[in-house]
């Protein structure tokens, strides 16, 4: 799978009504606000390999009835790219989310987190329960839900004598052939046939940051299995977990566990990979809307 080089941003279906930056410890984080209507949706950033354009299929739909707030995670998009690893602690992302809620005068929001958005969302839901009306997690990178997929268990820091498969998930390879890594990774991420455009999009967004940034982010502190479970069990808001049955990045066992630990609903998507919100946007959008309506 060869993706094309990044092009100028394509025309959006809807442009933000408001945009701005919050700044914490000298790091600027870019946010956007769309539409109006309760409840507000806060679309969280995931791993800094991509940015808030990942929500491009959700924003125009949600913003017809709801206020939608999203922001670029530090390390990509129009946000700063700090070099210190501590800047990428999961809690920092959660605090960015809180700062964005404050800056946009959002009392409460339905929080939507994709992949690494899960630990961030869980921290936010625990520390600011009154700000989180509900949480939706897609393909959650939930360490409380068992071991990573076996084929992904490869030394990340060591020089390997192969570049094959998941050996590409390796800091040395990233520095050697970042583009090769992006092509590989997003090819794994979209398991569904006919996903060329979604892969191209993600590779393009990946190219907006650097392997050095992702390496720094790699060292950010993340909740371990027990801490993650604690966060999940203590989350008080209604939860919906959506997980692709063919997810090759984070096993669906993680989504199942997160639903169980939070007492949330689980929607399993048979035949889907890691990013159903991009690949099956219609179904996912309707799920989001139904979830919000049930909170009303």
């Amino acid at each position: 799978m060869i993706a094309v080089a990044p092009a100028p941003e394509q025309t959006r279906a809807r442009y933000p009504d408001e945009e701005g930056y919050i700044e914490r410890d000298g790091i600027r984080v870019f946010y956007e606000v769309y539409g109006s209507g309760e409840p507000t949706f806060l679309l969280l950033p995931t791993w800094s390999i991509i940015h808030s354009r990942q929500w491009k299929a959700q924003i125009p739909f949600l913003a017809r009835e709801h206020r939608v707030v999203t922001f670029d995670g530090r390390g990509n998009g129009r946000s700063d790219r700090p070099t210190a690893s501590e800047a990428y602690d999961e809690r920092e992302f959660a605090l960015d989310a809180l700062a964005v809620l404050d800056a946009t005068a959002t009392d409460r929001a339905v929080v939507v987190g994709y992949s690494l958005g899960a630990p961030r969302g869980l921290i936010l839901a625990n520390e600011q329960p009154e700000r989180v009306a509900g949480a939706v997690f897609i393909g959650p990178a939930y360490s409380g839900g068992g071991e990573p997929l076996p084929e992904r268990v490869m030394p990340w820091e060591d020089e390997l004598d192969t570049d094959e498969g998941w050996a590409k998930y390796n800091r040395h390879y990233w520095l050697r052939d970042y583009r090769g890594f992006l092509d590989f990774f997003f090819g794994k991420l979209f398991r569904e046939p006919h996903s060329t455009k979604q892969i191209e999009d993600c590779v393009g967004w990946g190219l907006e940051t650097t392997p050095e940034t992702l390496i720094a982010a790699h060292y950010g502190a993340k909740p371990g299995p027990e801490e993650a479970q604690e966060l999940a069990r203590r989350a008080r808001c209604p939860v919906l977990v959506v997980h692709g049955g063919d997810d090759a990045i984070a096993s669906h066992t993680r989504g199942r566990a997160l639903a169980e630990h939070t007492g949330g609903d689980l929607v399993l998507l048979a035949g889907s990979g890691h990013a159903p919100h991009a690949r099956d946007p219609i179904f996912f959008n309707l799920l989001l809307r139904d979830f919000a309506r049930r909170l009303a």
């Binding site: 046939p193 689980l266 998507l269 048979a270 035949g271 889907s272 099956d280 179904f283």
Partner: protein, 712 residues
């Protein structure tokens, strides 16, 4: 309009799990409880003009998700009929509701009500906020909240009038004179939607159950719950729980202004139903059930659950086959069609939504029965309950199955919402076809309708009224198809154009033959079996000796045929005398206990015969009812047979008879006039006779499957 009533309560789709009485100030009030879900949903009655059966379209569905509690209002149903007006005040009925909740151990509940019931529910929610989780008020009546409907102000209700016309019937003197006339007028006003005959009949029946005295006390003499509009507003504004208000724009009892006021004062959600009347629960049950469930889920979120959605290109091809259980016949032809479908689409998975006795055939064939099938309300038992001695008014039996049809459609809907099917096939699945046309937005797969007859037909002894009713039903069907041609992607007539009766659909309606040719594809007849090649060999296999004159007596899969079996058994001694080699085998079928049938020496009585069609192919004579499947099996195999159409069974008397005439098959008998002697004589004349029937095609299943397969 004139309304003919049936005094017997029709079969319910679901019966209460618990029933009882509460007593307040010496007045006993009857209640019922359905289901055991954690959340209670109390459905209030209206005024004593009706009783708890008013909720028959909702109870079977809602009780799958909630513990549903209903009660009869004082003055109707199985509740007492107190004799003072004070006993009928809104407050008393509201308190009855609270007492019923207490008696049934509910500390909190969702509250639902239609008309006055909406008022009682709002009053309970306002005065007992800890109890009320939410209020669904349909066509709500809150006296004095707004000016009443102008209909009630056209004439004085308590003074003698010199007219009975129109709303002058809302008058206690007229009620005393002609209560029935009043009810017919009133409910025709409240069910103004075309084709509402059954709903009107039901409401008139329930009104008569109460009687004029309670209605006078409750609706005319009881003290109003509020002295002023202010008082009413204050009370409604005190409701704190979520509220849903449903209003039909053609409501002739309650105004839009009143419904809107309830929504505004409570901050509730207002849903308007265009071109709907005062009783959408009865006339638009699928829509109302959906609204109630959605509202309730918003108030009490359902327990966490796991659902699966399969992305489009990852799906296997799947079909849901809904096979009518009335008679065993459809099962075999549907299995044959399913087999042919799988030869055209080997990857096709077929699930069956079906009930006994169809499931018996499906299980034997190794077909996959959807587990939800177990929850279907039983249609066969209903049909049996509607039959008298060799007499089944099939049209009325279907009409009186309306509650079961709603319940089974709701189940179908839940199944197809949870699972993704590419295709729905309904073989005379009346509930699927009717309610898809009534709720076309619910269609989310290709849909095929199969039938072997078109057109409801009246009997002469039903008079003009029966003719009016069949015409009305036909007209509604014709309008459905004309307005929503997209619902049936295929309509397959199991037969040939000449099999369609030459009758008219009724006054002002097209001829059935022409219309059917325009709106159906024809598959030819589907027997569901290979014709017998070597009859002698088959007889030997089944243990019939060459010299024996084998006569099989069968009434198919339903339990309706007991009387015919007895009559033929009575004829056995004479028949045996006429035909010394006679070997008579009586097949009771899956729904008749053979032990209750009389015995004779030399007569064989069997409970169930596996592959009965093979015995029919091997016999020298069959004695049957007038059902299509069995008589066409005999026709296809060239066997002589006597058939006795069930009295008042329009399909057997008109549609099947017409088809058999065309094939030159069978000898029609009459249960009324043909006694044992006539039957014995006919057996002697017909048994072993060479016949010259029109041949029956053998490719019907393949042709039907090909028509269906194009949609996959």
């Amino acid at each position: 309009m004139t309304v003919t009533l049936d005094d017997r309560e029709q079969t319910r789709a679901r019966y209460p799990d618990e029933e009882g009485y509460v007593e307040r100030d010496g007045v006993r009030v009857f209640y019922e409880v359905y289901g055991d879900a954690p959340t209670t949903f109390l459905l209030f009655p209206t005024s004593p003009i009706s009783h708890s059966r008013l909720w028959k379209g909702q109870i079977p569905y809602l009780s799958r998700y909630f513990r549903v509690v209903v009660f009869d209002p004082r003055g109707n149903g199985r509740s007492d009929r107190p004799s003072t007006a004070e006993a009928y005040s809104y407050w008393e009925i509201m308190k009855d509701g609270r007492a019923v909740l207490e008696a049934t151990g509910a500390e909190t509940a969702l509250l639902g009500g239609l008309c006055d019931g909406g008022g009682y529910a709002l009053m309970l929610a306002a005065t007992d906020p800890a109890l009320a989780l939410g209020v669904a008020a349909i066509s709500p009546s809150v006296p004095r909240l707004t000016p009443g409907h102008p209909n009630y102000r056209r004439y004085p209700s308590q003074e003698p009038l010199d007219t009975d016309e129109g709303w002058a019937k809302w008058n206690v003197h007229y009620w005393q004179r002609d209560f029935r006339g009043f009810l017919e007028f009133f409910f025709s006003q409240q069910l103004p939607e075309p084709h509402s005959t059954k709903q009107i009949e039901d409401c008139v029946r329930w009104g008569l159950d109460g009687g004029v005295e309670s209605l006078v006390l409750a609706d005319e003499e009881a003290p109003p719950p509020f002295a002023t509009a202010e008082e009413a507003r204050d009370l409604v504004a005190r409701v704190r729980c979520p509220v849903l208000v449903v209003h039909g724009e053609l409501d002739n009892c309650q105004t839009r202004e009143r419904a809107l006021a309830v929504a505004e004062l409570t901050g509730g959600k207002f849903v308007a139903l265009e071109n709907a009347g005062h009783i959408p629960t009865a006339r638009h049950p699928v829509k109302v059930n959906g609204l109630l469930k959605e509202f309730a889920d918003g108030v009490v979120p359902p327990a966490p659950k796991v659902k699966t959605w399969t992305r489009a290109l990852s799906r296997r091809r799947r079909a849901l086959y809904v096979s009518s259980p009335i008679g065993l016949g459809h099962a075999r032809r549907d299995v044959a069609i399913a087999k042919e479908l799988r030869t055209l689409h080997p990857d096709l998975e077929i699930d069956w939504l079906a009930q006994h006795p169809v499931t018996a055939v499906l299980e034997a064939e190794g077909e996959r029965i959807h587990p939800a099938s177990a929850e279907l309300a039983n249609e066969s038992a209903h049909i049996e309950s509607e039959s008298a001695e060799h007499d089944l008014h099939a049209f009325q039996a279907i009409r009186r199955m309306d509650e079961i049809l709603v319940a089974n459609f709701m189940l179908f809907l839940d199944v197809v919402r949870e699972e993704q099917y590419d295709l729905w096939i309904g073989d005379e699945a009346w509930e699927v076809d009717y309610f898809l046309h009534e709720n076309p937005e619910l269609k989310s797969a290709a849909y095929v309708w199969l039938t072997d007859f078109v057109g409801w037909l009246p009997f002469e002894d039903g008079g003009e009224h029966e003719s009016f009713l069949t015409t009305d039903y036909n007209a509604e069907m014709i309008e459905h198809i004309a307005r929503f041609p997209r619902i049936r992607d295929r309509a397959v007539f199991v037969g040939n154009p000449d099999d369609v009766v030459p009758n008219s659909f009724g006054n002002g309606l097209p001829g059935i033959r022409d219309w059917t040719e325009q709106h159906y594809d024809f598959s030819g007849y589907v027997t569901g079996f290979e014709p017998v090649a070597d009859r002698e060999k088959l007889r030997a296999e089944l243990g019939y000796k060459p010299a024996e004159q084998v006569c099989i007596v069968t009434v198919g899969g339903s339990g309706v045929g007991g009387h015919l079996l007895r009559r033929v058994i009575e004829a056995f001694p004479q028949a045996k005398a006429n035909v010394p080699d006679l070997r008579m085998v009586v097949v009771a079928g899956p729904r008749i206990d053979p032990a209750i049938l009389p015995q004779h020496d030399g007569l064989e009585i069997r409970a169930y015969v596996h592959e009965l069609y093979r015995h029919l192919a091997a016999c020298d004579l069959a004695v049957v009812q007038g059902g299509l499947t069995t008589s066409m099996e005999l026709t296809a195999n060239g066997r002589p047979f006597l058939y006795f159409p069930l009295k008042h069974h329009f399909e057997q008397n008109f549609h099947v008879h017409h088809r058999l005439e065309r094939y030159g098959a069978g000898r029609r008998m009459d249960f009324e006039s043909d006694g044992p002697a006539e039957i014995a004589a006919a057996i002697a004349e017909e048994i072993g006779r060479e016949v010259d029937y029109r041949p029956v095609e053998t490719d019907g299943a393949a042709r039907a499957a090909k028509l269906i397969a194009e949609l996959l």
